[in-house]
Symmetry: C2
Subunit: 345 residues, 2 copies
């Protein structure tokens, strides 16, 4: 079979415990034996059995990330992949492995998480979404397993989470449009039950209010994270007797629909309508015209989530760790909002 700690010990003329100590860089081991043992390891092609180690040490040095059920929405795929990259990069750096799991439905998800955590295959979990009353979260909380939420959930305000300040992000985006001279600004939102839609809408409202611009209900339309939503929103907006001259749009993909709708209706971006949206997926720079977007640092979100989780796993409880991380966002201004409204308005 494969070479074990005993083989190395025998060949090196030391005891298995010594080899083990060399492995973990135990302080009280002589430079010389350490050197010799390491050479033998190399020579024999020894590799520690991770399972055996983890059986006794009761730690797996792995975390899992739970993918929500099939994300139909395209942007989610880009979003998740970017997130996963960040998670994996940081985890690997910290010596942790990342296990991906997904369930067809909530029940399966809980089963998977339960098997993984209870079965001591992973030390903690990262959740990539926030639902209202999530059985997975409940499970994790009940059993006091370390976990982190990417996103924000009103149901669980005290949970370890990393998130974007969506209120502020929307505020900034709206202020940008106002700074360009716009006063008639509409908002194309996502599903109203999603925290992210709510937050962004709030930021939009605050910006208007701070600038003394009245909010107009008919300039706010709800939809989904699909381009079709944006497309339909345009036939609605552009049929209004009073039309907005600028739009804040909840997501880049929706913007693509908006762009298409506007194009078909014969309006020019940014001259007739300026737009800015969120997430800054790589396609934004490729569209015609390139789309202004709020970069929310997705990779960073994942990286930080992983870091926070691992920190919590390793934490001995002697100090108190933060339980909310806010990843900074940044406006990426491109052509779609680079147009100053004529003063005459």
């Amino acid at each position: 079979m494969s070479v074990t700690i005993k083989d190395v010990a025998k060949k090196a003329g030391v005891s298995p415990s010594t080899v083990s100590r060399v492995l973990s860089n135990h302080p009280r081991i002589s430079r010389e034996t350490s050197r010799r043992v390491k050479d033998i390891m190399e020579e024999l092609g020894y590799h520690p059995n991770i399972m055996a180690k983890s059986l006794v040490s009761k730690t797996t040095e792995s975390i899992c990330v739970i993918l929500p059920k099939p994300a139909e929405e395209l942007f989610l795929n880009l979003f998740f992949m970017e997130l996963i990259r960040g998670i994996v990069a940081q985890a690997n750096r910290a010596g942790y492995d990342v296990l991906i799991s997904s369930g067809g439905n909530e029940k399966e998800e809980v089963e998977a998480v339960s098997r993984l955590l209870h079965g001591r295959r992973v030390d903690g979990a990262i959740l990539l979404y926030s639902r209202q009353d999530d059985p997975v979260v409940n499970f994790l909380k009940t059993h006091d397993y370390p976990f982190v939420l990417v996103g924000r959930s009103d149901s669980y305000p005290d949970i370890l989470s990393v998130d974007t300040d969506n209120v502020q992000a929307a505020y900034d985006a709206t202020r940008h449009l106002i700074a360009q001279g716009h006063e008639r600004i509409g908002f194309v939102s996502g599903p109203p039950n999603l925290v992210v839609s709510k937050d962004r809408l709030e930021g939009y409202n605050r910006a208007l209010s701070d600038c003394g611009i009245a909010m107009r209900k008919d300039w706010i339309v709800e939809g989904e994270f699909l381009q079709d939503s944006g497309y339909r929103a345009m036939s609605f907006f552009m049929n209004l007797p009073e039309r907005p001259t600028a739009l804040v749009i909840v997501d880049d993909i929706v913007s693509f629909g908006v762009l298409r709708g506007l194009h078909e209706l014969g309006y020019k971006v940014p001259e007739d309508v300026s737009i800015i949206s969120f997430n800054n997926i790589s396609l934004t720079e490729l569209s015609t015209p390139p789309l202004s977007s709020v970069d929310i640092g997705i990779y960073n979100l994942g990286y930080t989530a992983s870091q926070a989780l691992i920190q919590n796993i390793r934490h001995d409880g002697s100090s108190v760790l933060p339980n909310r991380y806010v990843i900074p966002h940044r406006l990426m201004i491109r052509e779609s909002s680079m147009y100053s409204m004529p003063r005459s308005l």
Copy 2:
């Protein structure tokens, strides 16, 4: 600590081995004890320790997928996520966990794979790319670990792999354009060192040749998997004294660049130039006009890779398993190629 097999055994008044047998549905266990033991498990909240099990059974029921170093190219993110979904879905169905790993460079990649396989943390690996002389492949081959390649590599013809028949796919795409009446068909290729570029170019050539259309070197341009490539290709093509009326494009993202270039130069798609590309990423239907594309079944590619790998891991060697899986592709004809050339040409 947490409840073990012994606790269950004691409470149920049986031996640990009996409990173990219940766990694995051993045939020679009485209906009655099985029932009782299972109840006790439930009652005590018992969960098998996966590490302990895997230490003795010498099987981890996990596989790992190796992400190539940072994929700058956007489409790769979509591609990988879709692939991963397929892999995870099938693996979970088969009772396997999926571990994601990535390395900053080739050396790190080998180290990661080596740690995972030698350390007995996973039973096999999925590689998502094919390089010319890949140290990871060499490692895996040398040590005879089960692994599967998504893609094709000329350097390793005998390796377990799942792939698209890119020659045929390009052949079909080209024939489609020919069927629309085109005879002046150009090809926008990707990096010439990539197998996929080579294969698609070959399919294109074969289709032309089968239809008695002469291949024209100046209508073939190489680039990268970036929209910019497509964009630049257009200024080239459209300055030619004789211009193609249709284009086969190596990837959807490149097509977006082509679309943009054509638009800026004042050409209409599909009337002036018809185009079709590959991969059918979800954005193809959203572009203006919607893009014809060859769907290569990315999810299926992942699903099959996972299936093939697990089959190989479990395989006892008594029969011979296939070592190459070809995932069927399918033309998705949309507006960008829905234009029949006037007879008068």
